[in-house]
């Protein structure tokens, strides 16, 4: 019967449902994508998702770019946690060429990646608050996201689209004031996160809004091949950091928070739990770094790692490598490699096919948001319109990652 009504013309008197556009410029779609919803009163009957508003053909562009120049493209995927994307890409290349990076680089990367995860989850969880009408927690935690951005800034000079690091390590060692900022962050953050949780987690209205909204079962989530916090909220403890460790994650002691119902509230709790775990990981990484030689910040791989400028002027080899890297003349061995990292939103995979040239033959990003968004209809159909809005912000669809 419902189907019949959907087929009716928009201005027909017999039509009982309304078509409503959630997006592309609706404030609930944090980014540019569209939902064409069929609603009966306040109840969502079905929604049709439209993607592609900011499709930039990254995978195609990447085919004409030297490897080091693909890093900025990965920035623009999930721009809330750009460093994870950057490092993931670097690790993919390192996997392809079999490059071992020093332990210290691993730990530095872990620190930045976990900071990025915290920043990503802060955005997502506080935006759930905004979409339910609680604006104040949002501003509390955004101050601390800002501090994370300042840390990025000290390391690579930029904030949102970081383009951080190089193949084989970092472009420079962390400056002293950045270390100070990191320690400041570590000192102050738990109190803020605790306050944030106090404001929302046990708030009756917030719980009423979130519990049961946009629920999906573990089985359905796996069938959609969902990963990350959204899958863990359904009760599946899949985390790339544990199941196929990279960047020495196997040396760290942390838990995987899981939910049970797979609804908005569980996603929120899982993300909050992950922030605490990320905090613990950073603490451990800082401890591990204490006894290490603090001058190491990149692998000894001259053919990939850009030499120092002073060396370029004085040393023959450095000049050659500098020329080759800058002009993008470095050939990579032929091969096929898949590497994935636990991005802010889930398993962010890089499938790289190299034919031995200076550019990828084919590069595919496995973008978790793209997958979540396909399941959106299933999550919201039958629920209320307000639930759909909260669900959309809780699955954290980032337009950049959705459309690549």
């Amino acid at each position: 019967m419902v189907e019949k009504h959907i087929q009716l013309a928009e201005n027909s008197v017999e039509k009982e449902t309304t078509t409503i556009n959630l997006g592309p410029t609706h404030p609930a779609t944090h980014g540019i994508f569209q939902n064409i919803m069929e609603i009966d009163g306040e109840r969502v009957i079905k929604t049709e998702m439209t993607v592609g508003y900011i499709h930039r053909a990254f995978e195609k562009i990447a085919e004409r770019r030297p490897y080091s120049q693909i890093t900025p493209l990965t920035d623009r995927l999930n721009y809330c946690s750009a460093p994870i994307n950057n490092f993931g890409w670097h690790m993919t290349i390192e996997k392809l060429v079999g490059l071992e990076v020093p332990k210290r680089v691993d730990y530095l990367r872990v620190i930045i990646m976990e900071l990025a995860r915290i920043a990503d989850h802060l955005v997502c969880n506080s935006v759930i608050g905004v979409d339910t009408g609680a604006l104040t927690p949002f501003t509390y935690v955004f101050q601390w996201r800002e501090k994370i951005y300042e840390i990025y800034e000290g390391i690579c000079g930029s904030r949102l689209t970081t383009n951080i690091g190089r193949i084989g390590g970092f472009e420079r060692n962390f400056p002293d004031d950045t270390w100070k900022k990191i320690h400041d962050f570590m000192d102050g953050f738990p109190a803020v996160l605790k306050e944030f949780e106090t404001l929302l987690t046990r708030n009756r209205i917030f719980m009423d809004r979130c519990i049961g909204a946009g629920a999906i079962s573990a089985e359905r989530a796996l069938n959609w091949s969902m990963t990350g916090p959204n899958l863990r909220a359904t009760g599946v403890d899949y985390d790339v950091r544990v199941h196929s460790p990279y960047s020495s994650y196997n040396e760290f002691d942390f838990k995987i928070p899981v939910g049970s119902a797979g609804d908005v509230y569980d996603r929120y709790l899982v993300r909050n739990g992950e922030m605490w775990e990320s905090y613990r990981i950073i603490q451990q990484a800082l401890d591990k770094l204490k006894g290490m030689d603090s001058s190491i910040f990149h692998a000894d791989a001259p053919e990939f790692y850009l030499p120092e400028k002073a060396d370029v002027y004085t040393k023959m080899e450095a000049l050659i490598y500098h020329f080759k890297i800058v002009m993008g003349e470095t050939d990579l061995p032929p091969g096929e490699v898949y590497h994935s990292v636990e991005g802010g939103n889930g398993e962010l995979g890089y499938y790289l096919v190299s034919d031995g040239g200076r550019t990828p033959y084919r590069l595919h990003f496995r973008r978790p948001c793209f997958i979540y968004y396909q399941a959106f209809n299933e999550m919201v159909a039958g629920g209320l319109f307000s639930d759909a809005v909260v669900t959309l912000s809780s699955i954290n669809v980032i337009a950049g990652e959705l459309d690549a």
Partner: protein, 358 residues
Amino acid sequence: MSIDTFLILEKIILVVIIIAASMGVAAYSTWAERKVAAVMQDRIGPLRAGPFGLLQPLADGGKLFFKEEIVPDNSTKWLFMLAPAMFIFTSLMTSAIIPWGPDFVINGSEGARTVALQVADINIGILYVFGVVSIGVYGIMLGGWASNNKFSLLSAIRAASQAISYELALGLSLIALLMLTGTLSLRTIVEQQHGFWDGNYFTWNFFKQPLGFVIFLVCSFAELNRAPFDMPESESELNMGYHLEYSSMKLGMFLFAEYINMFISSAVLATLFFGGYNFPWMDQVQAAVPSGIFSLICVGVLMAKVVGFILFFMFVRWTLPRFRFDQLLNLGWTKLIPLALFNMLVTGAVILFFFNKK
């Protein structure tokens, strides 16, 4: 029957003052709202226009006046124009029956003359408030419908059903109060709450009807469309709802009327439950100062209470998330109305068994 020209003059002056004051309070409520939000969110708030940003409301008003008027092509034009006017009209109407202060005496050449600081003391006072509240929803409904926008329509539906549902609980919560006071006149109700302590018990109705007060407060949040009951506006779902298509001063009138509503309902709350212009030791003060000054002090006390309520409304808005629509109706119909009925029964029983004067 001659028309008392002096009375008409007096009332006109009073009306003008009250409307100007409502406008002024509403304007500075917008400033206060921003400052409160800023304080609660670790921000600074408006700062550039005048000292502490005090000229910000003027700047906002000026901006709204000079914005382009946009009337959607497919809207119902005259209703689209009428809606904001109706909204602001109904929001100002309630102020007529609020007693702003005690009477004071002017000694003129024609003898002493008592001036009441209330526009109209009608014997159905509270019902008048209900009447105005019940027609207040027309502005939103017409605006939402005339815009010819689905989000606005959805918002108008939400607003109307919310208003109708919460009017019931609002009315029921007051019936218990009316049983105590035995009158509908706001003036008499205020006079019954004279002072603060009558020797046996508090005089303010809040202490006699705490549950009724809580229900009334929650319902006034809902009637004001303020967070956590701001379903019709909910900017993250309906893009500001019924005033989505409005621009320029028509939008300004909608926003402004909401703040006037907040001011007036704070005044009603203060009058009904918190003693209106009464304050502790008022008799001693009255004996010490002239009647005009005393009236001014009383007005000041009422205003202080009103400001307190307005600040409370603001703190709540910047703390709590918003209800979902069905939860909101559930709260109204299945929690507040039974609670109000229960309150009514208890009050009735207590009056019958303990305070039966006959």
